[in-house]
């Protein structure tokens, strides 16, 4: 499941001062960035950024969306050229003055001395050519070799990044690779010319957590093996903690804090860094602690003995026809009670979204039973379902797609009221205003359109809309995965608070194990359409029964570099087992 950074534009850059000098180095630094600025029209994406990277060093650039971290990384390879962006300051990479170099000089740098690994491995490779050919093409740009030799080199590097049967696979096109293999292939491309610097821009963001762990391990090994420098751009503090020596925290285009990774993550000096770290959900923290950490209020325990709100028995849903028919959800049974939160975790393609949509009957189950308050609703036709519709609500993942861009948010929130037969405009306005206020917005926002809101605000609107229907159950499908970590925490807290207040049942679907633990009373782990494990949250996290659960838990990056090393060891253990 891909996570999404929302589109929150940086509200103008304020120079928060340049950083202190980088890690002391004796030889010429591999990267030396001085007073780098990048402007897109009126917007300053990078604001007087300076840092250095010694040969063989690893620097993590961490920041939320809009912090300018990617723009800074692109500047290292002069990728802003010809895009209309203005780049100021100086960038020296492996002896090349990137901002001053001509096309030829730049091409000689790109791929040869400094190579880049991009975020989305599928779109970053040409879909029409075999992977091996693409690597060979790049290799031949920089090395005067014939086609055959270049192909041989391609197979060699593919083999190096751990692609089994590399010679055969080099003839496949990108879509025939799995996500992890594609990212390996991109890394292989980067390795082809033995660069001195590897720039990785969110290299694992598009990947599942288990695959992410493998890629991070690969980068870790390669760095130690080849001695190349690594500049890792990521929004995920955990990923940085796993992979780099130094870390640079960015916000609104400028540096916030920089230092050795253990120090910055362990003892942050700047308030923003602290805030950021506090917001990161932690796998090892129990629910009680996490919620009160944010909210500071005592938790009302879930009502264990309440009657089941919704009950699924052997629920099944298949897509496609004939031989191509696959069961996205294959016999799932679960129960949610009022006032209780059930967390469902799983990687992409595990069927958790399909399951969620079936629970609110946006999708019709192929078979199995679905009971809402004891009444079978799994096969009810739309007309008969209508009375129940409003009691089963959903909060969607994508805050952009879940609101009609052409209607004011007030209208969207008012929908369930109108559908319920409310005709009095004044009452509708009051009620919508109250709902907006309840989710942390202002009643005056009624007239605004979705694009005027940030991602987190839109998600609050989505919650308000769900609440407007006075539901008994809300299914939240990855409600925070598209949000920045600080916003994430706020939305999670809001959900928890509302549930406590209204006593509704909550199904919380997410790929992020830490977030799920934060909100769930019980947790179900889903894989390939079936629940592999289900139980009390703490029990599942602290004493996982299923090997897959264990594998998932081990793959989650840790904030503490020491813990990260331990997990890496654990993963190797699991892999060998």
């Amino acid at each position: 499941m891909t996570s999404h950074e929302p589109l929150t534009g940086p509200a103008g850059a304020t120079g928060s001062g340049t950083s202190s000098s980088g890690a002391a180095g004796s030889a010429d630094p591999l990267v030396e960035v001085t007073d780098l600025t990048v402007d897109f029209g009126e917007v300053r994406a990078v604001d007087r950024l300076s840092f250095t990277l010694e040969p063989g060093g690893a620097l993590g650039v961490v920041g939320e969306s809009g912090s300018g971290k990617s723009a800074a990384a692109y500047a290292l390879l002069g990728l802003h050229r010809g895009t209309g962006a203005r780049v100021g300051g100086s960038v020296l990479v492996a002896g090349t003055d990137v901002n001053a170099a001509d096309e030829r000089g730049l091409r000689a740098l790109r791929g040869a001395r400094a190579a880049m690994v991009f975020q989305d491995p599928l779109s970053s490779l040409d879909p029409y050519y075999p992977v091996g050919d693409q690597i060979a093409e790049v290799y031949r740009v920089h090395r005067p070799v014939n086609r055959r030799a270049a192909r041989a080199r391609a197979v060699e590097v593919l083999d190096r990044v751990g692609i089994p049967d590399a010679a055969r696979r080099s003839r496949l096109r990108p879509h025939e690779f799995s996500g992890g293999m594609r990212q390996r292939a991109l890394i292989a491309m980067a390795l082809a010319c033995e660069p001195r610097l590897l720039v990785a821009d969110e290299p694992t963001t598009a990947l599942d957590v288990t695959v992410q762990a493998q890629i991070l391990d690969l980068l870790h090994d390669l760095r130690h093996e080849t001695g190349m420098g690594l500049l890792l751009v990521t929004h995920d503090v955990g990923v940085a903690a796993e992979s780099v020596d130094d870390v640079l925290v960015m916000r609104r285009g400028a540096e916030v804090e920089r230092g050795p990774v253990a120090r910055v993550l362990g003892a942050p000096r700047e308030p923003y860094t602290k805030e950021l770290l506090a917001a990161v959900p932690r796998l090892e923290v129990r629910r009680t602690a996490s919620v009160s950490a944010v909210e500071g209020a005592p938790l009302v325990p879930a009502v264990e003995d309440a009657a089941p709100l919704i009950e699924a028995v052997d629920l099944r849903r298949a897509f496609g026809r004939g031989s191509g028919r696959v069961a996205a959800v294959d016999g799932v049974s679960l129960t949610v009670r009022a006032g209780e939160t059930l967390g469902i975790v799983g990687e992409s393609g595990s069927g958790k979204t399909t399951l969620g949509r079936m629970l609110v009957r946006l999708l019709d189950p192929t078979s199995g039973r679905l009971r809402y308050r004891g009444r079978e609703i799994g096969a009810l036709p739309e007309r008969e379902l209508r009375p129940f519709r409003r009691e089963l609500q959903m909060v969607f993942q994508d805050p952009v797609a879940s609101l009609n861009p052409r209607r004011s948010v007030g209208e969207s929130v008012a929908d369930p009221l109108r559908a319920a037969g409310e005709r009095d405009e004044g009452r509708i306005r009051d009620r919508v205003g109250a709902l907006l206020e309840r989710v942390g917005l202002e009643p005056a926002h009624f007239e605004r359109y979705p694009h005027e809101f940030s991602g987190g605000q839109r998600q609050r609107v989505g919650i308000a809309r769900a609440l407007a229907a006075e539901p008994k159950l809300i299914v939240c499908d990855e409600p925070v995965s598209a949000l920045d970590v600080t916003t994430q925490a706020q939305v999670v807290a809001l959900l928890a608070e509302l549930q406590r207040e209204l006593g509704i049942g909550l199904v919380f679907i997410a790929h992020d194990l830490a977030v799920v633990r934060q909100v769930s009373d019980r947790v179900a782990v889903m894989r390939r359409g079936v629940l592999v494990e289900q139980g009390e949250a703490d029990a599942v996290y602290e004493d996982p029964r299923d090997p897959y659960t264990r594998q998932l838990l081990a793959a989650v990056p840790a904030l503490d570099p020491g813990l990260a090393a331990a997990r890496r060891a654990a993963r190797r253990e699991l892999a060998r087992a």
Partner: protein, 330 residues
């Protein structure tokens, strides 16, 4: 422009674009110089067509009066005088054989050409919307049926069917209306394909799911959630289909099944002028040139409308880094 391309181009309009009021649309349209110029030309043409009786009265002519004395009967009826008989009275000269005033016929012809295309386009859109929405929102069975009907519509040779239809409808039926109906009735499949595809895309979007969860009926959801979002592709398609329909009308008239004399239309003038290109070249060049300018202006305007409705069209072409995060994956 072929339907396939129309579909491809109009279909590229975003399913979900930020809400944009009419005002911002006009602002973006005006920002394009070519489109503004084209709009001006189109406006002029429309005014000319509307004011046809006024203009011809000003010229002191009418489109149907014969002037046998202005043509050289022994030479086949070629206009007497240079440039097809241009004079103070006959600003663009006269028609060979009949001596009818060319200016008056051109001006009245604009009415027919624009009017027929307008009605035909409106019809295409109405049919396309209804059929496309029904296919997207109706049952699977209905979708299959409508899909097959669309296939038949695509496989029909337009000209032949038009020929056949124009032959079987009683002559008393007003020709321009009939032609508009035929063009509209035959050319809706492109629109319906776009509407269906867009509606299917929209249907799968979360805000539609949310609307369903709020307990509203299918058609209520379609009307409030889908239709507003369909406006952009529909308007774009219409803007690009309109000039195409002008060409189709001209082509039908050119094949001799279009507008019937004495009603003037540009296509029909072209047919008649077809053989006269050597003896009276202006007779051919004037309607041909006007047809060209009209279609070009409308096409440029259509492109402008598309760009104005789809602000991403311009930015989509920008090459290089994506800076604002992953907004495009939305």
């Amino acid at each position: 422009m072929s339907e396939a391309l129309l579909v491809q181009e109009a279909g590229a309009a975003p399913a979900v674009a930020p809400a944009s009021g009419a005002r911002s649309f006009w602002r973006r349209l005006r920002a394009q110089r070519a489109a503004s110029a084209a709009a001006l030309v189109v406006l002029l043409l429309v005014l000319t067509a509307l004011a046809a009786p006024l203009l011809t009265a000003l010229a002191g002519q009418d489109p149907n009066t014969y002037h046998p004395d202005l043509v050289d009967s022994a030479a086949g009826g070629v206009p007497i005088g240079s440039f097809g008989g241009v004079s103070g009275e006959h600003w663009l000269g006269v028609e060979p054989q009949t001596g009818r005033d060319l200016f008056a016929r051109i001006v009245y012809g604009a009415r027919v050409s624009l009017g027929v295309a307008l009605v035909a386009t409106a019809l295409q859109i109405a049919l396309g919307l209804v059929i496309g929405l029904a296919a997207a929102l109706g049952s699977r069975w209905l979708d299959q049926l409508l899909g097959r009907i669309t296939d038949i519509n695509v496989a029909l040779p337009v000209m032949v069917i038009a020929l056949a239809l124009l032959a079987i409808v009683p002559a008393a039926f007003p020709r321009p209306v009939l032609i508009a109906l035929v063009i509209g009735g035959i050319g809706w499949s492109g629109m319906s394909k776009i509407v269906r595809a867009q509606a299917l895309t929209l249907k799968s979007l979360d805000f539609v799911a949310a609307a369903r969860l709020s307990g509203r009926g299918t058609w209520s959801v379609a009307r409030r959630e889908l239709l507003p979002s369909l406006a952009a592709p529909v308007i774009t398609y219409a803007a690009l289909a309109f000039p195409t329909n002008i060409i189709v009308e001209a082509a039908l008239s050119f094949l001799g099944v279009g507008i019937k004399p004495p009603t003037p239309s540009w296509g029909q003038m072209l047919t008649e002028a077809d053989t006269w290109y050597q003896a009276a070249p202006t007779y051919l060049l004037i309607p041909a040139g006007l047809l060209f300018v009209t279609v070009l202006a409308l096409t440029v305007l259509g492109e402008g409308v598309r760009t104005a409705l789809d602000p991403r069209a311009a930015s989509r072409l920008r090459v290089g880094t994506r800076t604002g995060g992953k907004e495009e994956s939305a």
